[in-house]
């Protein structure tokens, strides 16, 4: 089984972002960048399949600027076999990302494509589903368990609003990961060194014949409304009194 994993370089989840004074966007200059946490889970899952003998090759793919190579190297250090960077400095929105991944999938012909369920910067939660549509493949989204079997099918457990749902998908298919699928490993120093020698191919949207012109125009970015300052109460009885008589919610 050949597995393709798509990863995005995003502002680290621990960093508090700043909005540009002219409201034109979020200022990401000089911020700590990391692999999107959900994508890290996707990489980990593919590597585990390889270690279990269920997958024979794990390819990681990123779309972004030159610096997205760092994210790919991290995935290689975790255990992926080779990497592909679709290099662009432009903003690429989910539909165009899905088209680019599709173009790579056409030549690589993976049995499974794994992606994070959402990127923690734009929080769109779209790319995997769009990719599945464009390829005409089944989709297993928000997956907290994924078990490939001998019959070229994968059984997935999905996190849904009411609980959990189990589906059986035919391969090739697209899966998007939820938080509880696994706990990603840290790359060891020797593996980080080894990753530097693993193959990393660079291509471009133009090479792949994909138009990435944004379909959404960003008009402005603003701070969310702030809550007015609250108070610290001294005791449970004071809390109850406030909730009853001031907030009137009891």
């Amino acid at each position: 089984m050949k597995v393709l994993v798509a990863v995005k370089r995003v502002v680290d989840y621990n960093v508090k972002i700043r909005i540009k004074a002219d409201k034109s966007g979020v200022d990401t200059a000089n911020l700590k960048m990391s692999m999107n946490p959900f994508d890290e889970i996707a990489v980990e899952e593919a590597i585990r399949w390889k270690e279990q003998g269920k997958a024979n090759e794990v390819i990681v793919l990123s779309i972004g600027p030159q610096s997205a190579q760092d994210t790919l190297r991290t995935a290689l250090a975790m255990g992926a076999d080779r990497a592909i960077l679709v290099k662009t400095d432009d903003e690429v929105q989910p539909l165009a990302v899905a088209k680019l991944i599709k173009a790579v999938a056409k030549t690589e012909a993976p049995d499974v494509i794994l992606l994070g369920k959402q990127a923690i910067d734009d929080d769109s939660n779209q790319t995997g589903q769009m990719l599945a549509a464009l390829l005409g493949w089944p989709q297993g989204t928000f997956v907290s368990s994924a078990t490939p079997d001998e019959n070229h099918r994968i059984t997935v457990i999905r996190e849904i609003d009411g609980g959990l749902e189990t589906l059986s998908l035919v391969c090739p298919c697209v899966l998007t990961t939820d938080l509880r699928l696994n706990e990603p490993r840290y790359a060891s120093l020797p593996n980080i060194m080894k990753a530097k020698k693993k193959p990393l191919d660079v291509t471009t949207p133009a090479d792949l014949g994909v138009d990435t012109t944004p379909r959404l125009t960003l008009l402005k970015v603003e701070e969310p409304p702030t809550r007015k300052a609250g108070m610290i109460v001294g005791s449970v009885s004071e809390l109850v009194e406030k909730l009853k008589n001031e907030a009137k919610v009891l």
Partner: protein, 310 residues
């Protein structure tokens, strides 16, 4: 402008998020129809017909939709899209699963998790875990939108829309439903509850988590949780509130043993009144709480339960 809302339901009852979605769709400024796709779901179509502002209910009643699989549902919706300028669903697990698939088939860039409709093509949506609000304009020929239910008033039920049965689609056979394990609960549903008591890692164990449920029950509320509490197995996944869990905005949110990471705040900071109980006075949750109590959960919560029972 003609909008089609995708109703969310379980073949018996329409989910309240649908009413908020209708409100969002009406703000696009044109007519709103509603699609009920399921199996033996005529009762749901009747409920949908009562929602104020709905012009017509399209009923696709077929076993192929029984489990709401994304593949047949998206085929159905794409087939209806020609008659509509906008397709709108709730930004729920179901809406998030289906709508991007629809959007890609239509070559449309979806606008996810809309919290305000500025004009028929311009929308506000949170990014970076709600730490920024982006206003975006769609340049596509159609709109595919998911709306955040807590950001729109629920439409009322004074309508008498006509119900029209529509042709079904065949199952592409790409995925097969095996099982659904729904968390059974007599408590109100998290996303529409008036009161939520949420527990975090600070609760320490799944047996101690019953303190959270007891407090919720006295208040007639729902039980929520941080990611850490779910990961630790104190409570099932569907209770997770946050950036990547459920978005809630109850009248009263009581956070117990939750530190207040931005990913958690993203899911609950629009609650009307927020109470935080945490033994660490520096916990970030206190920065957004209306009422903070610096105390040990195991002392404060039993005392709170007693005083509310009294």
């Amino acid at each position: 402008m003609r909008a089609l809302v995708i109703a969310e339901h379980d073949n018996r009852h329409i989910k309240p998020a649908t009413h908020a979605t209708v409100t969002a769709a009406l703000q696009l400024g044109g007519t709103v129809d509603i699609l009920v796709a399921g199996t033996r779901c005529a009762a749901v179509a009747d409920q949908a017909a009562k929602i104020t502002g709905v012009g017509k209910v399209l009923l696709a009643d077929d076993a192929v939709f029984a489990e709401f699989l994304a593949e047949p549902l998206s085929t159905l919706i794409v087939g209806l899209a020609e008659d509509y300028d906008a397709l709108v669903a709730a930004a729920s697990a179901a809406g998030k699963n289906i709508m991007p698939r629809v959007a890609a088939f239509l070559d449309v860039q979806q606008v996810s998790d809309v919290i305000a409709v500025v004009s028929p093509d311009t929308f506000v949506r949170p990014i970076y875990a709600g730490n920024a609000l982006a206003t975006v304009r769609s340049n596509d020929k159609k709109r595919v939108i998911t709306a955040r239910a807590t950001a729109f008033e629920a439409a009322t039920e004074t309508g008498t829309a006509v119900i029209e049965a529509i042709p079904t689609v065949s199952d592409p056979g790409l995925s097969r439903f095996l099982e659904r394990r729904v968390t059974e609960s007599v408590r109100p549903e998290l996303t529409s509850a008036r009161v939520i008591v949420a527990g975090g890692r600070g609760i320490g164990s799944d047996s101690a988590f019953s303190l959270v449920s007891q407090l919720a029950d006295i208040l007639g509320g729902a039980v929520g949780a941080s990611r850490a509490a779910v990961d630790a197995g104190f409570i099932p996944n569907d209770a997770q509130v946050g950036q990547t869990g459920k978005i809630v905005a109850p009248d009263l949110y009581i956070a117990v043993g939750i530190s207040g990471a931005i990913q958690h705040l993203a899911g609950m900071k629009d609650s009307k009144v927020i109470v935080a109980i945490n033994k660490d006075g520096d916990a970030p949750i206190f920065q957004i709480a209306d009422y903070g109590l610096v105390a040990d959960v195991f002392e404060a919560v039993p005392e709170l339960i007693d005083s509310l029972n009294a």
